[in-house]
Amino acid sequence: MKTCAKQYQIVDYFFDELNEIQKNEFEKHLANCEDCRNYFESFFSTAALIKEQKRIKPKPEMLDLYYQALKTKYPTRKKFSFRAKDLLDFLIIKPSFPIRIAEAAVLLMIGIFIGRATIWKAEPVQQFTNGNGYAASHVSELILNHYLQETEMILLDVVNTSPDEDDQVLLSFAQLAQYGNLLQKTSLCRSKAEETNDEKLIMLIDDIELILLEICNIEQRTLTEKANEIREQINESNLLFEIKNFTGKEI
C-alpha cells in the first residue's frame, strides 16, 4: 500500500498537538489528498470512540492495601507524624467563607504596607542583594512572620473549600496568591532563613513554595481535579501545623 508522508500527522491533528499554522496546512492537505482523507475518516471515528472509554475502577479494598503498602515503604514524613488537621480544627474556629476572603484581603493589604514600611527603614548600606533588590539581611522578622500568616490563611482556605463548594473560589485564591506576590516573598524569606542557617525554616519554606506554585498554576481547564490534588497535598504535608509551629513562637 502506498502511503502519503503526511499520514502520521493525522495522530497529531486528532490529539490537537499541531500549532495553528500546522493545523491549517494539514487541513489544506486533507482537502487535496484522497489517501489521507480516507485514512483520516477511518481513524477518526474509532479514535473518538476509544478516547471516551473510562477504565474500570479498582475495588476500594484493593486500593487501600496498595496505598498502605506504599505508605509503609515510603513514608512522607521523616520524624514525627501528628494529626495536624485535628489540632487545627481544635485551635481554629472556621469563619464563614466571605469573611475569610475579606480577612485574607485585609491581611494582604496590611502585609504590603508593613513590607514597604520595613524596607523604607532599611539601612542604606547593603552588602549583597538578591534578585528583588532587597538586602536579605534587612528583611525583617515581621515580614517573615507575616508571610507565614498570609500563607497559612490561604492554605486554610484552600483546604476548607470543599469540593462541592464552588471550585471557582480556588481560582480566586490563585489570583490572591499572585496578587500578594507571595512567591516573591517566598524567595525573600528563604534568603533570610539561609542567612541564619535555619534548616528547619528553609525546609518549611521549600514546602510552602511547592504548594504555592501549584496554587498559582491552577487553570480553569483542570480546576476540579487539580483542586482536589492540592487539598490532599496540603492536608497530607502537615504544612499548616508546621507554620503554626513557627508563627506561634519567636523566629
Binding site: Y8, E17, Q53, M62, A69, K73, N217
Partner: protein, 191 residues
C-alpha cells in the same frame, strides 16, 4: 512554568526519604492505572506499580533529570509492566506441564484475588466496548500497546511517549495509527 516535582526530586536525591514518599503519593494512582492498562488486571497491576516505585527509589541517584521525573517514572513503569508480561508468558508456558495446587483453599484464595481482575472470561457477545478495547490491546505488541494506552488513557503528548518508550516520535505515531485501525477491524468483526 516550573515543574513542581523538581524540588522534591532534588531533596529525594539528597537522601530525604520523606520527599520520595511525597513523590510516591503524588504518582501512586497514575502509576497503578498505567500498570493496569498494560497488564490488564489490578491484582498484577499493584505488584507492577510497587515494583516500579522500588526501581525508581533504587535508581533515583542515577536519574539525570534530562527528562521530567514524571516521564522517567512512566518509563520505569512501562518497562516493569512489559517485563512482567514476558515472565507471565514464561510462567504460563511452564505451568501447563505442572499439576494444579492440591490445596483447595489455596486455589480458592487465588481465584478470589484474581477475580476482580480477570479480564476476559466472558463470551465475546457479552463484552462491552471497554472490555473489547482491552482485549484488543492485549494482542498488540508490547511497545505498540504502551504507545496506545499512554496516548488514549493517559493523555501523553507524542514527544513524551517517544521519551518514555525511548523511540522516535514518528514510531509512536505509527503505533497509534496501526493500533487504532486494528481496533476498528476488531470492533467490526465482533459486532
Amino acid at each position: 512554568m516550573k515543574n513542581p516535582d523538581d524540588k522534591l526530586v532534588k531533596k529525594a536525591k539528597m537522601g530525604d526519604s520523606g520527599a520520595f514518599g511525597k513523590l510516591v503519593k503524588r504518582y501512586q494512582n497514575k502509576v497503578l492505572y498505567l500498570a493496569y492498562d498494560l497488564v490488564g488486571n489490578y491484582y498484577d497491576a499493584q505488584d507492577v506499580a510497587q515494583n516500579a516505585f522500588y526501581q525508581a527509589f533504587k535508581n533515583l541517584p542515577f536519574f539525570k533529570e534530562q527528562s521530567t521525573f514524571s516521564t522517567w517514572l512512566y518509563r520505569i513503569t512501562t518497562n516493569a509492566a512489559i517485563d512482567f508480561q514476558r515472565s507471565r508468558k514464561r510462567r504460563q508456558a511452564a505451568s501447563l506441564n505442572q499439576p494444579m495446587s492440591e490445596n483447595k483453599e489455596d486455589r480458592e484464595l487465588i481465584d478470589t484475588l484474581k477475580d476482580s481482575a480477570k479480564p476476559f472470561d466472558k463470551k465475546v457477545e457479552d463484552l462491552d466496548l471497554k472490555e473489547l478495547i482491552r482485549k484488543t490491546t492485549e494482542s498488540l505488541p508490547p511497545q505498540q500497546r504502551a504507545a496506545f494506552v499512554l496516548k488514549y488513557f493517559h493523555d501523553k503528548p507524542t514527544e513524551d511517549i517517544a521519551e518514555i518508550l525511548n523511540c522516535d516520535p514518528i514510531t509512536v505515531r505509527g503505533h497509534i495509527l496501526r493500533a487504532t485501525l486494528k481496533l476498528k477491524k476488531q470492533l467490526k468483526a465482533e459486532k
